[in-house]
């Protein structure tokens, strides 16, 4: 089970992030989690949104370079040492994490880790085998 992440290419220039954000606002896109990876010349805005297909379309229309890719959303009880547990599990199984970011639900005291893997299928199998709860796109929409 995977969820779709939207990535947007942004030049490191004043106003570019605002331009992307305004497109999202005007189209009522609901962002569930986001992170920005940056190099000296550009950044990549990565987001988990309520409606990935629509988000793709509106950003493309506005002239942005956009891509979708699968992520794994692991939901676990929020506690200390959680990141270590997940990372060491992946290490032990020889599965490479490309990057990760997280979301914490204060009400339910759950944490959601969004993980990008080189080999997403292998990662899904590993988590499923170990009994981790992976969120579906619908579930992610509801958080």
């Amino acid at each position: 089970m995977t969820v779709q992440q939207i990535s947007v290419f942004l030049e490191n220039k004043a106003g570019r992030l605002a331009a992307a954000a305004s497109v999202l606002k005007n189209n009522a896109v609901n962002i569930r989690a986001l992170t920005i990876a940056e190099s000296s010349n550009y950044g990549v805005l990565r987001m988990i949104v309520s409606d990935p297909d629509k988000t793709m379309a509106v950003l493309k229309d506005a002239g942005f370079t956009v891509k979708q890719n699968p992520m794994i959303a692991v939901e676990i009880d929020d506690r200390e040492g959680l990141l270590f547990d997940i990372v060491s599990l992946c290490d032990a199984e020889g599965i490479n994490i490309e990057y990760t970011y997280s979301y914490v639900e204060t009400a339910s005291k759950k944490a959601i880790l969004f993980l990008r893997f080189e080999d997403t299928d292998a990662a899904v199998q590993m988590f499923t085998r170990r009994g981790y709860k992976l969120l579906s796109p619908d579930e992610v929409c509801k958080i």
């Binding site: 990535s7 290419f9 990876a37 940056e38 010349n41 990549v44 891509k67 490309e98």
Partner: protein, 432 residues
């Protein structure tokens, strides 16, 4: 010091007579010996006997770089191949290289004009000249070499690069003169400073710099850092290499050695000659070359000429340093680059669109070329390392083609301005 007083300071009427005689002879020579020129003359209905004064040169056909490529490799030869003693070519990065084939007479001529060049900066048999132009097919190294030898000075044929060794040689052997590109001279100055060399204490006193455009502020910089006088020299492979024109001690305009290389300025659109002082395209005719004489070569360089008397006593016409180009050629670190070459590379790469812009800057002392390439969906990835890989990949491909390193920067689609007709491909921030 004037190397060849008789020719360099010849009264202008006598010079015109000499040029007329030489033009008649060279027109006859190419008409009789070079089929390429015979058909060019015939197409215009002009015969060698139509040349009665040097001004009749305007009747003769032009030669373009494309013409030279069409007749590659030996099509411009005006003598037997057995009389050719040396061949040089341009780098050929934009297509077939331009060939310059020299007879012994041409090599002697080369030595003469380079001896004139070096004498302008006061080089004599007592000098030790460190020749840091590249030796090989490039005309810079050997052209300067022949001039140094002709004067009877001591030549250190160190060629380009190897900065540490350049500095060691300069210090150990007491070089008094330096020949290299202007940007490399500044690089040497900086490297020397880091090594703790005090250039004011070295015997080095003069430098001859060419093969790339430079500015007055760069001259001031070179002179202050190396404690030398810096002279601008000019030449091109199509004509002979270095030794076509050079600055005298006035360090103002460049005297053209017009008894051998006759310059004209033309309107690049109409081909009509322009009067002194007006800017236009520089055209050269070789009046005395034996191996590959060239009639009215269109350099695509823009400058103007003046025949105002020069305080140095030389009568030879002077040209301003090159002010621009009629095409979009860029010179980066001595290498000629056309935006079309970059386009060729990008078109061949999967996922890359040929929407690009070139940004040229002088950082420190080196020309830096940045190539902005628009992002496409095929290129894009959520992972920075893949984007960086793509940039490196484009850089490597560009380097293979251009022979110069450039830095590739991915930019947002449609961020490079599209203009009707000629796109604004180049932003040159160098103040030259």
């Amino acid at each position: 010091m004037i190397w060849d007083e008789k020719h360099e300071s010849m009264p202008r009427t006598g010079l015109r007579e000499l040029q007329t005689e030489r033009l008649k002879a060279i027109a006859r020579k190419v008409y009789d010996n070079v089929p390429f020129y015979k058909s060019k003359f015939d197409a215009l209905g002009v015969k060698p006997e139509d040349i009665n004064t040097i001004d009749d040169i305007a009747k003769l056909p032009f030669t373009t770089k494309d013409d030279m490529r069409d007749v590659f490799p030996y099509g411009l030869l005006a003598c037997d191949l057995k009389d050719i003693v040396e061949i040089h070519t341009s780098s050929g990065t934009t297509g077939k290289p331009v060939v310059d084939a020299y007879t012994q007479g041409d090599i002697d001529l080369w030595g003469e004009v380079m001896a004139r060049t070096l004498s302008m900066g006061g080089v004599t048999a007592d000098d030790i000249v460190q020749n840091a132009y590249g030796y090989g097919l490039f005309t810079g190294g050997l052209g300067a070499h022949y001039g140094i030898r002709r004067i009877g000075a001591t030549c250190i044929p160190i060629s380009g690069g190897n900065t540490k060794r350049q500095l060691d040689m300069m210090r150990d052997f007491g070089s008094t003169a330096l020949t290299c590109t202007p940007s490399y001279s500044l690089y040497l100055a900086e490297a020397g400073k880091e090594e703790g060399i005090d250039f004011s204490k070295l015997p080095l006193r003069v430098g001859f710099f060419g093969a790339e455009p430079w500015s007055e502020s760069m001259r001031a910089d070179i002179q202050a850092k190396l404690h030398i006088k810096a002279y601008d020299i000019f030449g091109l492979t199509e004509i002979i290499g270095p030794g076509v024109a050079a600055e005298c001690e006035c360090q103002d305009l460049l005297h053209v050695f017009e008894d051998h290389f006759y310059p004209e300025i033309i309107n690049p659109d109409t081909g009509k000659p322009l009067p002194d002082g007006e800017k236009g395209e520089l055209v050269f005719t070789t009046l005395t070359k034996e191996g590959t004489p060239v009639i009215r070569y269109r350099t695509r360089d823009i400058t103007y000429l003046t025949r105002e008397p020069c305080p140095c006593g030389r009568t030879a016409v002077r040209m301003h340093r090159i002010l621009g180009r009629t095409d979009d050629m860029l010179i980066i670190r001595g290498v000629n680059i056309f935006p079309s070459q970059i386009e060729q590379v990008l078109i061949k790469m999967e996922g890359v669109e040929p929407h690009y812009q070139l940004l040229v800057e002088r950082k420190g002392n080196l020309d830096c070329l940045e190539v902005l390439v628009e992002m496409t969906e095929d290129l894009f990835s959520d992972e920075l390392k893949r984007l960086e890989q793509k940039e490196r990949e484009i850089e490597d491909k560009l380097r293979d083609s251009l022979l110069v390193h450039s830095k590739v920067k991915l930019v947002e689609p449609k961020s490079i301005p599209r203009s009707e007709g000629k796109a604004k491909r180049i932003i040159d921030k160098r103040s030259i």
